[in-house]
C-alpha cells in the first residue's frame, strides 16, 4: 500500500482528537469535528427512560461556539431547516427557554451514528452563522430588540403560558415571536417590529402583516383572540411619518393592535 505510514498517522491523529468530560449522569463527548470559529464540537450523551439521547447541550442556542443563532434571519432559517431535515434533528425548549437540539434511539448500536449526525449538524450550523446575510447593523438591531422583548415578556407573563419563537403549523412556515396561551382555546399572538432604517422597518411591518394573515388561516386560527405588534420605538428605523401608512394598513387589514415599546407596560392588561 502506498503512503501506508502517513495513512496510519492520519487515522491515529484523527482518533486522538476524541476526548470526553464526565458531567454527572451525562458524558460530554468532544468530537474531532470543528467549526470555522475554530471550536471542536461537543455532544452530550444521556440515558433516560430506556433511550439514549445525544444533544447539543443547548450550546448552539446559547452561542457557546462564538456563533449567533437567529432564526429570524430568513436566509439563515432556510439553511437551518435544510440541516434540521437532512439530519432528522429534533428540538425542544429547555427550562430557560433555550432550544436543545437532539436525536435519540433505543439501540446502543445507533449511538455512534447519532453522534456523527449531531456533530456534523452542529458544525454546519455554527459555521453558517458566521456568514453575514444581512447588514450587521440590521442584524444587531433585530437581535437586540428580540432579546429585550423576550426578556420583558418573560417577566410579565408566567413561564408556562408563553412560547417564544414558536411555529403555528406543522410545516414550520408560520413563526411568531411569541404566543401567549391564556387558556387552551385562547391564544394571543405577539410579533416584534423593528429595523435599522425605515426600509427595513417597513419590511418588518409587512412581514408581521403577512404572518398574522397566515395565522388566521392556520389550524389554530380559530383560537386566536388577539394579535399584537410590539413596535420598537427605540430603533433608528422608527420614523413615525415614514411608517404610518404601513402600520395603519397592518392594524386595519389584520384586526390587530399595536403596543409601542415605550408603553410596554400596557401589555400587562392585554395578555
Amino acid at each position: 500500500m502506498v503512503f501506508e505510514e502517513i495513512y496510519n498517522d492520519i487515522k491515529t491523529a484523527f482518533g486522538q482528537l476524541w476526548t470526553f468530560k464526565e458531567r454527572g449522569k451525562s458524558l460530554e463527548i468532544i468530537t474531532p469535528y470543528t467549526t470555522t470559529t475554530q471550536k471542536f464540537i461537543s455532544v452530550f450523551l444521556s440515558f433516560k427512560d430506556e433511550e439514549y439521547i445525544v444533544s447539543d447541550g443547548g450550546w448552539l442556542d446559547n452561542g457557546f461556539y462564538e456563533n449567533s443563532f437567529n432564526l429570524e434571519d430568513d436566509t439563515f432559517r432556510k439553511i437551518a431547516h435544510h440541516y434540521f431535515n437532512a439530519f432528522s434533528i429534533k428540538e425542544i425548549k429547555g427550562p430557560s427557554q433555550k432550544t436543545y437540539f437532539y436525536k435519540k434511539t433505543i439501540t446502543p448500536i445507533a449511538v455512534p451514528s447519532l453522534v456523527f449526525d449531531m456533530a456534523n449538524f452542529i458544525a454546519a450550523m455554527v459555521s453558517t452563522s458566521e456568514i453575514e446575510f444581512v447588514e450587521r447593523e440590521e442584524r444587531e438591531t433585530k437581535e437586540q430588540f428580540r432579546r429585550s422583548a423576550n426578556e420583558y415578556l418573560q417577566t410579565v407573563i408566567p413561564k408556562e403560558k408563553i412560547d417564544l419563537g414558536v411555529y403555528l403549523d406543522e410545516k414550520k412556515q408560520i413563526r411568531l415571536h411569541a404566543v401567549v396561551k391564556q387558556s387552551s382555546s385562547r391564544l394571543v399572538l405577539i410579533n416584534y417590529i423593528t429595523g435599522s432604517n425605515p426600509y427595513f422597518f417597513n419590511n418588518s411591518i409587512t412581514k408581521t402583516n403577512f404572518l398574522f394573515e397566515l395565522a388566521e388561516k392556520s389550524t389554530v386560527g380559530r383560537f386566536v383572540k388577539r394579535k399584537i405588534s410590539l413596535i420598537d420605538t427605540t430603533a433608528s428605523g422608527y420614523v413615525p411619518t415614514r411608517i404610518a401608512t404601513f402600520i395603519n394598513h397592518l392594524l386595519e387589514n389584520t384586526g390587530s393592535e399595536k403596543i409601542d415599546w415605550s408603553e410596554r407596560e400596557k401589555l400587562h392588561d392585554m395578555v
Binding site: T34, F40, S42, N62, K90, S148, Q154
Partner: protein, 182 residues
C-alpha cells in the same frame, strides 16, 4: 472569530496592553442579571494600564444556571471589540489551527486562557492542572497573575455573584439533566 485583523495591525500596542502591569480600579466586582441576556450574569470594572492611556474593561460573566461556568474578559475598544485576553472555566474546546503543531495537540479543552499571536489568530492554552479550580475567586487570582493585573496594593479583586440574592451556588454540570427530551 478566530483571526482579529485589528490585533494583527496593532500588535505592538496589543503586546504592551497585555504584557505590562494593569490595575483594577474597584476591589469588588458585582456580577448581576443584565437586561437582554438570559444566558450570562455580568459584572464589569474599569482597568488602568501602568503606561498607556487606554480604556480597558474587565468583564466577569457567569452562566445564570451554572455558577461554575464563568468567563473573564479583558477588552480595550481602542484595539478591538473582541476581548484581548480571556479565561473560560467551562464550555467548548478550542482549536489552535496551526499546521506546525500535530493535529491532536491543536485541541485545548476548558478551562483555558486565550490570547493572540502576531497574525491576529486566537491562541488558547490550558490552565496548568495544579491550578485547575472551579472556585471563581481563586480562578480570578490565576487570571490576574496571567494578565499582569491587580489592585493598587498588590491584592486581587473579589467577585460577588448576585450580591442581593440568597447566597445560593447554582450548578448544572450536566446540561441534559433538566430537559425532558420528548
Amino acid at each position: 472569530m478566530s483571526i482579529v485583523p485589528a490585533i494583527r495591525s496593532k500588535y505592538g500596542f496589543y503586546r504592551k496592553l497585555l504584557r505590562e502591569h494593569k490595575y483594577v480600579l474597584r476591589d469588588t466586582v458585582d456580577v448581576v442579571k443584565m437586561p437582554g441576556n438570559s444566558t450570562f450574569l455580568e459584572g464589569k470594572t474599569a482597568v488602568s494600564h501602568s503606561d498607556l492611556d487606554a480604556e480597558i474593561t474587565l468583564t466577569v460573566r457567569v452562566k445564570c444556571n451554572d455558577h461554575d461556568f464563568f468567563r473573564f474578559e479583558l477588552r480595550c475598544l481602542e484595539l478591538s471589540e473582541e476581548p484581548f485576553f480571556e479565561f473560560h472555566s467551562d464550555g467548548c474546546t478550542h482549536r489552535n489551527a496551526d499546521e506546525s503543531i500535530p493535529l491532536a495537540q491543536q485541541r485545548v479543552t476548558t478551562p483555558h486562557f486565550s490570547q493572540y499571536n502576531q497574525q491576529g489568530a486566537n491562541v488558547t492554552y490550558p490552565v496548568p492542572e495544579t491550578t485547575e479550580d472551579t472556585d471563581i475567586t481563586r480562578s480570578l487570582v490565576y487570571f490576574c497573575q496571567e494578565a499582569k493585573l491587580n489592585l493598587r496594593d498588590d491584592e486581587f479583586p473579589m467577585i460577588r455573584v448576585l450580591p442581593n440574592a440568597l447566597p445560593l451556588h447554582v450548578t448544572q454540570k450536566d446540561p441534559n439533566s433538566t430537559v425532558l427530551f420528548l
